[in-house]
Point group: C2
Chain length 324, copies 2
């Protein structure tokens, strides 16, 4: 069977071989640029791994895998405009390096390119995977919209936050596995089960990301920690703090959220201390374990022979033990 | 056979029936808004008409027709951000009414929605029309990129300008007819011929649009004329003027193009006078006739019975005689 690393290597090679037109340069150069940034290629690797659970031949899964990766990078290119992010993977974002118009249009072309790659899937599978891709792509947009809506709100419930995470992050992980499974020949029940595994794992992954911003070692995590705190980004920690904090603690929280000028380290320390008093790290870790357990239960439900699940099991352990 | 008007009525009815989710409102409300603006529905009508040339049953063409219209409106939503246009069809544009981020994300969702509608095409046709749609959609992006690149250039050749018009406008008209024909059961040669008809007619249409900005009666055209002149927009007239003007006339042209503050009516009158001296209206009309004749020749080449071409012939006359 193919390991995560095998699949990542295949995807990187296929991405290098991807033919894009030269002209107009302002349309295609940013696409080459974002696809060449170092990335983990988790989602397309999961398409191949989902296929590999049911078939030794993962070749038919290559085009849908590339489609998923190009789609994911399209969302990054457009999200970075909307979030006004200047850096991505240690490099300038496309709208910062070129300009927002070029990032809008190149992103549009990437979304079309994703569908072009998807259309190259063998005909007998295409009909089954198109609706999965379409629905997922719309949900990812919905997730980004909820995320933007939440920026202006202090009253996001934990359920709303989890749904946002589900749509913005988890459904694409889930769809990657499902599309792979369908191309590998899995039936409706099996592929739905893999979808649920990916969905639960994707939620756990994002919640863990929220935690890593606050509690990771920056030299390992690769980003300066506390960025989410500084920018008042809604995370599971902040959403839960807003839900739980009472009295003075609540006033202190609102005080820091409302300040436009502040000392960065001071704000991080103050908010961290509120999180600590409310025991939010523990609570978030409990949620992560819960979604991870659900994911493992989904994997257990699969009727395929246990040894076919080996690589997905290894993947879920890798994801849960990451430090960055 | 169905006339243009019959097809427009069908499309408007189907668009009204289109189900879009309610939440998140900031994602779906702008889509409803732009689709409800009064519009001619030319492209989706052409999908139905292309189908109707070969088949009495135009039902299988309805979904691809809606896909084309939703795609077209996605391009308008994003182009309006890039061009910083505040008004479209006498109403505020989406980015002006909401904000640019919402217009980016709603546009993305529309592009996905277009593919979702396309995916609902009967299976036996989908395989044939997906590559046409994908290629066309990418070309439309390329056309928009060329158009933006041209903003900063005084040395656009007529060939480059026509290619931009071909990509930005004509290929979608062409693809509408071809997709319709394919769904109606036309073979490769026939549908390629209809594509060529649409391509040539589309170029003629856009060149005519360039003329109407300068020479139409504003009370009929619906927009104040001379907007393209005021904004230095590259049109067939300006591109040809930059190519032909010599000596004092060239200096005068550059003088007006370089001014950041000017009297609107004075600039329009001055540029119009340069166009008149260079006989550019005549030259542009000759080009329009040329593309129109090419389109009619394409229609002649179709092997289908002459009476099946009746409505397309009527459509091309309508298009060439329009005053707005």
């Amino acid at each position: 069977m193919y390991s995560l690393q095998d699949c990542q290597t295949i995807i990187n090679k296929k991405l290098e071989e991807l033919q894009l037109p030269v002209a107009p340069g302002n349309l295609y150069e940013p696409i080459r640029y974002i696809l060449e940034l170092e990335a983990k290629r988790i989602r397309p690797a999961l398409v191949l791994m989902g296929c590999n659970v049911y078939s030794e031949d993962i070749q038919p899964a290559v085009f849908p895998a590339l489609a998923i990766e190009v789609f994911h990078n399209f969302t990054l290119m457009h999200d970075d405009i909307m979030d006004q992010s200047a850096m991505r993977r240690n490099s300038p974002t496309v709208h910062a390096k070129w300009n927002p118009n070029i990032a809008i249009l190149s992103g549009d072309a990437m979304l079309i390119k994703a569908y072009e790659l998807l259309s190259a899937t063998p005909a007998k599978y295409l009909r089954g995977i198109l609706p999965v891709f379409n629905q997922t792509a719309l949900q990812v947009c919905e997730g980004q919209q909820y995320d933007m809506d939440f920026e202006h709100s202090y009253s996001v419930s934990i359920e709303e936050y989890i749904r946002m995470v589900e749509f913005k992050t988890a459904v694409l992980v889930a769809a990657s596995l499902k599309i792979g499974a369908l191309v590998g020949g899995a039936g409706e029940t099996e592929s739905a089960c893999l979808y649920a595994f990916g969905r639960n794992l994707g939620i756990a992954f994002q919640l863990q990301d929220d935690l890593l911003d606050v509690y990771s070692d920056p030299s390992v995590f690769g980003k300066v920690s506390g960025n989410d705190i500084v920018s008042n980004k809604k995370t599971i920690l902040l959403v839960e703090a807003l839900d739980r904090a009472r009295g003075n603690k609540r006033r202190e929280l609102y005080h820091w959220l409302g300040m436009s000028e502040f000392n960065r380290e001071e704000k991080i320390a103050a908010i961290r201390s509120i999180y600590q008093d409310l025991e939010l790290e523990k609570s978030a870790n409990a949620r992560i374990s819960c979604y991870h357990d659900l994911a493992l239960a989904n994997l257990n439900t699969l009727t395929i022979a246990p040894d076919r699940k080996r690589e997905l099991l290894a993947f879920s352990s890798y994801l849960m033990n990451r430090k960055k």
